[in-house]
């Protein structure tokens, strides 16, 4: 399907933002990734929308690497949360993405109180293919120690997510494979025969030029080596 100019520009801005996050996660020089979202003008507003789409992962380096949050970055992130609340008819993934951002703000500033969780009943009824797709879209929620309805649904179905990971690799859907692999890193009961670490290396080899794939693989790698929030 052909993308509109607007969605193409938004997707490019999301990719730029994801590249910045990957750079920090890999120990690059950049330490601020969402700051442009706080600036005025069209570029700032496009960046703000990009932060909303990338979701909680925009602040992932601060959480996983225990880097003290930059107040200007937190302000820009908060602005994205407030500017794009879920609409009344929003899909569950949109609601949960917004919840993940609010949860991140609460981690940074515990005085803000926990956000109310949206429902997750749609995951209980999902087949393994759909479950994997939905979890991959919500991969920013795959964080060590996170306890929410989505993560609890994932914990109950490690074999289904493993099957979904293999299916995504076979379909060359690297973004889905990376997101599913990030979840599998955290799930107990994943079959050893999956070869998750090798599989993630392969996903990075084949799809790592997509910054969102690289982001999930790098996040998974950090979590496998013991990164905690």
């Amino acid at each position: 399907m052909e993308q509109s100019g607007t969605s193409t520009r938004l997707q490019a801005a999301v990719q730029d933002l994801a590249s910045g996050v990957v750079s920090v996660l890999r120990g690059g020089d950049h330490t601020r990734v969402v700051l442009t979202a706080g600036t005025e003008g069209e570029a700032g507003d496009l960046a703000l929308a990009a932060v909303r789409v990338l979701g909680a992962d925009a602040m992932l380096p601060g959480l996983l690497l225990a880097i003290p949050p930059d107040p200007a970055e937190v302000a820009a992130f908060r602005k994205a949360v407030e500017a794009y609340p879920p609409r009344a008819d929003a899909a569950p993934t949109v609601r949960w993405s917004h919840w993940g951002m609010a949860r991140t703000l609460q981690r940074i500033d515990p005085s803000s109180g926990p956000p109310d969780e949206p429902g997750a009943g749609w995951l209980d009824e999902a087949g393994w293919q759909s479950l994997t797709h939905q979890l991959a879209v919500l991969a920013p929620l795959a964080l060590p120690g996170e306890d929410c309805a989505v993560s609890r649904a994932a914990v109950l179905r490690p074999v289904d997510v493993a099957r979904g990971f293999v299916r995504a690799v076979r379909r060359r859907d690297w973004r889905q494979a990376a997101g599913a692999g990030r979840w599998l890193t955290l799930l107990p009961g994943v079959p050893d025969t999956l070869g998750l670490e090798s599989g993630l290396n392969f996903v990075e080899l084949m799809g790592g030029q997509d910054p969102q794939v690289a982001l999930h693989v790098q996040a998974a790698r950090l979590m496998r080596t013991g990164a905690r929030l």
Binding site: E42, V166, R171, G195
Partner: protein, 61 residues
């Protein structure tokens, strides 16, 4: 919502664009050729059983 409206006017990005990005349909599958399958089996090591290509089925006729 005022800030969202203002952002829309500046960038043309609407809540619908955001929702579409956050609730994507599953990408169409593209299956690998046999060389890539072989590379995957080598890279995957212990996972080769799951990551290897499906067993060929006999052709009809």
């Amino acid at each position: 919502m005022r800030s969202e409206k203002f952002t829309e006017e500046l960038t043309g990005i609407t809540g619908v664009d955001i929702d579409a990005a956050l609730d994507p349909v599953e990408a169409d599958g593209v299956y690998r050729d046999s060389r890539e399958c072989a590379a995957l089996a080598i890279v995957a090591g212990a996972g080769a059983v799951l990551l290897s290509p499906p067993t060929p089925r006999p052709k009809k006729g």
